[in-house]
């Protein structure tokens, strides 16, 4: 447990659960349906609010409008094919899902990926975190009426899409990872573009946020003390990620269960883990969540800059001998061994021979702990592919957060939680 804590710079405000009680219980109560199609719910969520005037007395959440059977599909696709489905889960940061899926697969197969692959995956995982936080922080402004704060970071998000397009050819549905490696190596100039993006563009965006939102009186007053959850409740409700850390929970999988380059000696040559801090706030309200996310963007930039200068040379995939990674296209097209190896991997009655057993692999993604619980019966596709979706588990305490507040605060709380319905419903 080496979590370094950076205390939030804001002045502590008396945050606590809202304590509204109606003057006449059972009096003039009316019911309002919010969603499933409403601009402020961002995606398809439905809340049934019981209101006394403007105050929320109770909230019932109905989800499932985007349920697409992703876990059922996982039982019929093989370990490389399913990465396409993970793109569609948290589509705001698809790279993080790709990495987590294959992290879990590699736990099941018990293979260690190459140092170059680890460094590249860490860089794109952090870019995905930035991508996700930029949207969430911007949307927190948008939902409270500040459209500028939403549009400014979108320019910077566009650049991340360009960076992803350059390495994998797709902007949204990246599907970049494979079992034991990556789809293809990064392009020759990519790391320089990432570096200039992190040194030139992102600091300006953070500056913009500081000016637009951090001390914006409307924003601060709409978010401070709103949607409070205590440290113990956050743990008990299963919260992870920035939401939990905004309530003072010292938990970050990158520090507590390190993987990729967050682990010491990740390249086998004694290189220490990347150096970063885990921002934590104790306020537990919407403003604290905004602050934690903004501070995490700055830490992600630090991580990327440590790695991007010397990405280790060497192969991106594990050795072809144990039939885990697909061979490169030049081998497939120009050597008979490569062609055979390729066919062995992709034919439906061959493919990966997984061990019989179960494995759980989890990563710290922008929304919290994203995990996959894989059960394998030895076939070339999982027997069960459970996704532990952070949105789903974070979202269940939503009624607790909004009861007692006013109806406009419901929107503020909702946008601070960054619920992605495709991941919520899967």
């Amino acid at each position: 447990m080496t979590t370094e804590v950076e205390e939030s710079v804001s002045t502590p405000l008396e945050a606590g659960p809202a304590t509204y009680a109606p003057e006449e219980p059972g009096g003039d109560v009316w019911v309002l349906n919010l969603g499933p199609q409403h601009p402020a719910t961002h995606t398809t969520l439905r809340h049934v609010l019981e209101l006394d005037g403007e105050h929320v007395l109770s909230c019932t959440v109905h989800i499932g409008y985007l349920h697409s059977g992703f876990e059922k599909l996982g039982e019929h696709l093989n370990y490389n094919q399913y990465v396409v489905v993970t793109d569609r889960m948290n589509y705001v940061s698809p790279m993080a899902n790709n990495i987590c899926w294959h992290h879990a697969c590699e736990k099941l197969f018990d293979i260690e990926i190459t140092p170059r692959c680890k460094a590249i995956r860490t860089i794109i995982a952090e870019l995905a975190r930035i991508q996700d936080h930029l949207l969430c922080v911007g949307a927190a402004g948008l939902d409270l009426g500040g459209f500028t704060a939403f549009m400014y970071p979108f320019n910077a998000r566009e650049d991340i899409y360009d960076l992803f397009e350059e390495i994998c050819g797709a902007r949204f549905t990246t599907s970049y990872t494979r079992v034991g490696g990556l789809m293809q190596d990064i392009t020759a100039d990519w790391h320089r573009k990432v570096k200039s993006y992190c040194t030139d563009v992102l600091p300006r965006v953070i500056d913009d946020f500081e000016k637009l939102l951090t001390r914006n009186r409307i924003f601060v007053e709409r978010t401070k003390g709103v949607g409070y959850i205590s440290h113990d409740d956050a743990i008990n409700w299963g919260m992870t990620g920035p939401l939990a850390r905004a309530s003072g929970v010292r938990r970050d999988l990158r520090k507590d269960e390190p993987y990729l380059c967050y682990e010491d000696d990740w390249d086998g040559k004694g290189t220490s883990a990347v150096d970063f801090k885990v921002p934590i706030s104790r306020l537990g309200d919407c403003y604290a969540r905004y602050q934690v996310r903004l501070a995490e963007i700055a830490e992600s930039i630090r991580i990327i800059l440590q790695l991007v200068n010397d990405i280790p040379a060497g192969p991106i995939n594990v050795l072809p001998d144990d039939k885990m990674a697909l061979p490169g296209k030049d081998e497939v097209y120009f050597s008979i061994e490569g062609l055979i190896h390729h066919f062995e991997q992709i034919m439906t009655n061959r493919g990966h021979q997984a061990p019989v057993g179960e494995a759980y692999g989890a990563n710290e993604t922008a929304n919290g702990e994203l995990g996959f619980y894989l059960a394998s019966d030895g076939g070339n596709s999982p027997y069960r592919a459970r996704c532990r979706p952070p949105s789903f588990i974070n979202y269940q305490c939503f009624p607790e957060l909004v009861v007692g507040h006013k109806i406009s605060d419901v929107i503020a709380v909702l946008s601070s939680m960054n619920i992605i319905a495709a991941e919520l419903d899967r």
Partner: protein, 178 residues
């Protein structure tokens, strides 16, 4: 058994002498310290064991990280059909433990752990929805991802990938009848 490296399992065995926990890793690994330990408990003792794991000072599993289910219908060497899998996490101790509770048809039912971890609320509803395993004592056990009139439990292994025509035969409301 030699691989009982997990700090909690000895405590469990001492606390509940009559229970056969059958501790084993989820999957045998090359590196023993990477193994994820799993114990099994019957539904009758589940709440006692879970309460102990939550409250005991050496266990301290403050968080229910995940709750899911696996339908072991045609799984090699499986004896029971539904395995409800609890993934517990201790933030203070930094360890994890998986607990499996096996139940069978015709009426699979396990006690709800909502009283211990509130986070079980939606996860238990999801398992009921997807697998048809009931959770006794859950305050609000409704379907969560499918709709109330839906009858099947789609993640069961005997439910076809294409569905049973629910999508094609979905009831549509016309303007006249509404």
């Amino acid at each position: 058994m030699s691989e009982l490296s997990h700090p909690v399992i000895d405590l469990l065995v001492r606390q509940f002498p009559g229970v056969d926990f059958a501790p084993a890793p989820l999957l045998a690994k090359k590196n023993k310290s990477d193994e994820q330990m799993c114990v099994r408990v019957g539904p009758d003792r589940l709440l006692d064991v879970m309460t102990f794991l939550r409250e005991d000072d050496s266990c301290c599993f403050e968080q229910l990280c995940d709750l899911t289910c696996v339908d072991y219908l045609n799984f090699p060497k499986a004896r029971d059909r539904y395995g409800v899998v609890y993934s517990l996490l201790s933030l203070t101790k930094g360890h994890r433990l998986w607990v499996k509770c096996f139940v069978n048809d015709p009426s699979p039912e396990v006690p709800s752990v909502f009283g211990i971890w509130k986070g079980a609320n939606w996860m238990e509803r999801e398992v009921w929805d997807m697998f048809g395993v009931r959770f006794a004592g859950h305050p609000d056990l409704r379907r969560i991802l499918t709709w109330e009139a839906f009858e099947a439990h789609p993640l069961r292994k005997d439910y076809p990938l294409q569905g049973r025509g629910e999508r094609e035969n979905f009831e549509t409301i016309t303007r006249e009848s509404a």
